[in-house]
C-alpha cells in the first residue's frame, strides 16, 4: 500500500468521522441535558433519511435544498417524542434507567415496524443530486463531495452548538441540567426546555440524515448500522460532552479506516470497540465526560 493510498484511507476516515460526530452529538446533547440515553436515536436517523428521500422525490429539489425542511421536521419529531414518551419515562421512580432504555428501545422497534409498514422494506437511494457521485481529485486523493459536504456541515453544526451555548437558551439548558429544581424557581419551564433539547438532538441527527441520504442507501433497519456506532462514539467522548462527541467521532472514523487496513476488513468494528474498552479502562467516563 502506497503512502498515497494511506492518505486516501485516512482522509476518507476523517470525513466519515465528522459525519459520525454529527450523528452522535444529538444523542450526547440529550444525555447531557437529562441523563437519558435515547435508544431510538438510529431510528431518528432513519426517519430523516426517508424524509429527505421522500421530499426529494416529491419536490424534485436537491437533498441540500430540502435539508432545512427535514431538520425542522426532525425537531418536531424529537420534541413530540419527548412530550409523548420520554416525559412519562422520566416520571417513574422505580428502575428509572431501565424504563428509559426500554421505552426508547420499544419506540425504536415500533418506528422500524412503521417504516416497513409505510415504506416497505425495499432499499431506496437518491439517484441524482448535485453532489452525489462527484469527487474532488486532489493529486490522486479522491474526496467524494457528499462526504466533504457532510464534513463541512458537521463542523458548522458544532460551531453553531458552541454559539448556542452562549445564548440565553444555552444558559437555560445548562441551568436545567445543573439543577432541575432551581430552574423552576426562576421561571424556566423544565418540560419546555427538555422538549426543545430533544428537538435539537433530533434536528442534529436529522441533519446527518440529510447528508447520509445523498450517498447511503435507505431502508427500515438502516438506523441500527449507525445507532451502535453513535452509542460507542458518545460513550467514548464522554456522555454529555458535545466536544467529546466531535473528537470521538473523528477518532472512530480514523480508527475504523485504519483497522480495515491492518486487519481483515470484516473485523474493522473490532478496532473501534477495542479502542472504547481501552479508553474507559483508563478513563471510566470517556475522554471528556464528567465523573
Amino acid at each position: 500500500m502506497t503512502a498515497q493510498a494511506l492518505i486516501q484511507v485516512l482522509a476518507s476516515g476523517l470525513l466519515m468521522g465528522l459525519i459520525y460526530a454529527l450523528i452522535a452529538v444529538g444523542l450526547s446533547l440529550i444525555f447531557g441535558l437529562m441523563d437519558v440515553v435515547n435508544f431510538a436515536h438510529g431510528e431518528f436517523l432513519m426517519i430523516a433519511m426517508y424524509a429527505t428521500f421522500g421530499l426529494v422525490l416529491w419536490t424534485t429539489l436537491d437533498p441540500i435544498v430540502v435539508a432545512p425542511l427535514v431538520v425542522g421536521l426532525m425537531f418536531c419529531v424529537g420534541a413530540f417524542v419527548y412530550v409523548a414518551v420520554v416525559r412519562y419515562a422520566m416520571r417513574t421512580k422505580a428502575n428509572a434507567g431501565m424504563v428509559q432504555i426500554f421505552s426508547t428501545f420499544g419506540l425504536a422497534i415500533l418506528i422500524q415496524g412503521a417504516a416497513q409498514y409505510f415504506f416497505t422494506p425495499d432499499y431506496r437511494s437518491i439517484k441524482t443530486s448535485w453532489l452525489g457521485g462527484h469527487t474532488l481529485d486532489l493529486a490522486g486523493i479522491f474526496l467524494p463531495w457528499p462526504q466533504i459536504y457532510g464534513g463541512l456541515i458537521s463542523i458548522a453544526a458544532f460551531a453553531a452548538l458552541s454559539l448556542i451555548s452562549r445564548t440565553d437558551f444555552g444558559k437555560a439548558l445548562e441551568a436545567t441540567r445543573e439543577d432541575q429544581g432551581a430552574v423552576a424557581l426562576v421561571g424556566i419551564d423544565r418540560n419546555k426546555v427538555f422538549a426543545i433539547g430533544w428537538g435539537l438532538g433530533a434536528a442534529l441527527v436529522g441533519l446527518a440524515g440529510t447528508v447520509l441520504a445523498i450517498f447511503y442507501y435507505i431502508h427500515p433497519q438502516v438506523g441500527a448500522t449507525f445507532g451502535t456506532i453513535a452509542y460507542v462514539t458518545v460513550a467514548l467522548g464522554g456522555f454529555g460532552s458535545v466536544f467529546g462527541a466531535l473528537v470521538a467521532g473523528i477518532i472512530v472514523g480514523l480508527v475504523e479506516a485504519i483497522t480495515a487496513l491492518i486487519l481483515p476488513p470484516t473485523m474493522k468494528a473490532v478496532g473501534i470497540f477495542a479502542l472504547y474498552l481501552a479508553v474507559v479502562f483508563f478513563r471510566p467516563s470517556g475522554l471528556f465526560g464528567k465523573l
Binding site: M16, Y20, T120, P121, P146, K268
Partner: protein, 418 residues
Amino acid sequence: MNRRELLLAASALPLVGLTGAASRAFAQGAPEVVIGVLYAMSGPSAQVGIDARHAFETAAEIINGSFDFDMPTAKAPGLAGLGGAKVRLVYADHQADPQKGRAEAERLITQDKVAALIGCYQSAVSSTVSAVAERYGVPFLCADSSSPSLQRKKLKYFFRPAAQDEMFSAAMFDFFDTQKKKGKKIDSVGLFYEDTIFGVDSSNVQRKLANDRGYKIAADIKYKSNSPSLSAEVQQLKSADPDVLMPSTYTTDAILLVKTMAELGYKPKNLVAQASGFSEQVTYDAVGDKLVGAISRASFSLDLAARRPFIGKVNEMYKARSSRDLNDNSSRELMGLIILADAIDRAKATDGAKIRDALAATDFPGTRTIMPWSRVHFNEEGQNPDASPVLLQYVGGKFVTIFPDDVAIAAPIWPMNG
C-alpha cells in the same frame, strides 16, 4: 385447533383472523393442496421475502388457472392429477433466523398440514428447514439458497432445481477461460465477499477454482455486511486492481460498494458478480449508470423470452403484482413452485413420500421452463445437475445474456472499463 383458536382470541388480535381468512380465500370449494412458503418477511432482508411472495402468487395463478404456456401444470386448471385441486400457499416469516425457520416449518407441517415446503433464501435457514422436512417426511423444495453444503447432507426430501454456487462459479471461470483463449488478458481475480454463509461459501468455491485454473488472487477481502462505509475496502481493491473483480454481496452493500468505487475513482477492469445484490433491480435503479458492462451470473435471463414467448407473459404477470421484472431469485422461486406442483400432480397424492418419489422422478427438458436450464431432473443428492447458469451483462439499461455461447444474445464487452 380449538386451542389455537383460543390462543388467537386471547391475544386479542382480530387482524390475525383476517390474514388467515385472506389466504384461505384462495380456494373456495375446490379441493386444495397446501404448500408452505418460508421467507423472511421482516428484518433487513424482508424485501426478498416480499418479492418471493409475488413470485409464488404468480406461480399459483399459473398452476390454478389455465394458460397456454408450454410449462408443466400451466394448461389445465388446478392439478389434473388431483381432480383439478387448487394450490393454496401458506406463508411463514422466519426473520432469517434458523430457529424460527425450523419452528415455522414444523408449524406449517403439523398445523397447516402442508404437502410440501418451499423456501428459504438464507442458506442457514434452509439448513434447519431441510432437517425438519426430512424428519417429517415432507418434501422441501429449496428454491433459491445456493450454498453447496445443503445437498451434502444427502437428505431424501431435499430438492434443488436451480444451480448452486459451485456450478455458478464454475460457469464464471469457464467464461474466463474462453475469454483468455480469445486473447483477452485475465491473469488475476479479486474476491470481495460478505462475512455470511453466502459470501464465505461463494468465496471458498471461487478461491479453489482460481487456484485450480491458474488465476492469481490479487485481492481476497472479506468485509462486514451492512458496514457504514466501504472506503478502506475499496481502497484495497483499487491498490490491487485485479483483472476481474468478483463481488459476492447483498443489495445494501452492492449499492454502497458501487458508489464508493465511483467516489474513490476506482473503475474495475471487469466485474463479474455472484448475483445476489447484483441481480436486484434496486441496485441498478440506484447505481446502474456506474455498472455499465457489469456481469452477473444468473439462473435467469429475460432474453430467453425471444425464444420462448411465454416467458415474457409470465414476466408480465409477475410485474403486474410486484412492479418489477423477474430476476435471479424471483424466477427460481416461481419455477420452483411449478416444479413442485408438477410433481404433486404426477404423484396424484398429497402424501409426502409419494410427492418425494414424484419429485425424484422429475425429468423434463429445460425448454419447458422459464429458465435457461438444459434439463430438469434431480441426482441422488436432490440437486439438478443441469441447471445451467448463464452470465448476463448489463448493457444499455438491461441485462443481455453473454454466456454460455449457445444461449448468448450478444458478445461480451470485455474489458468493461478499458
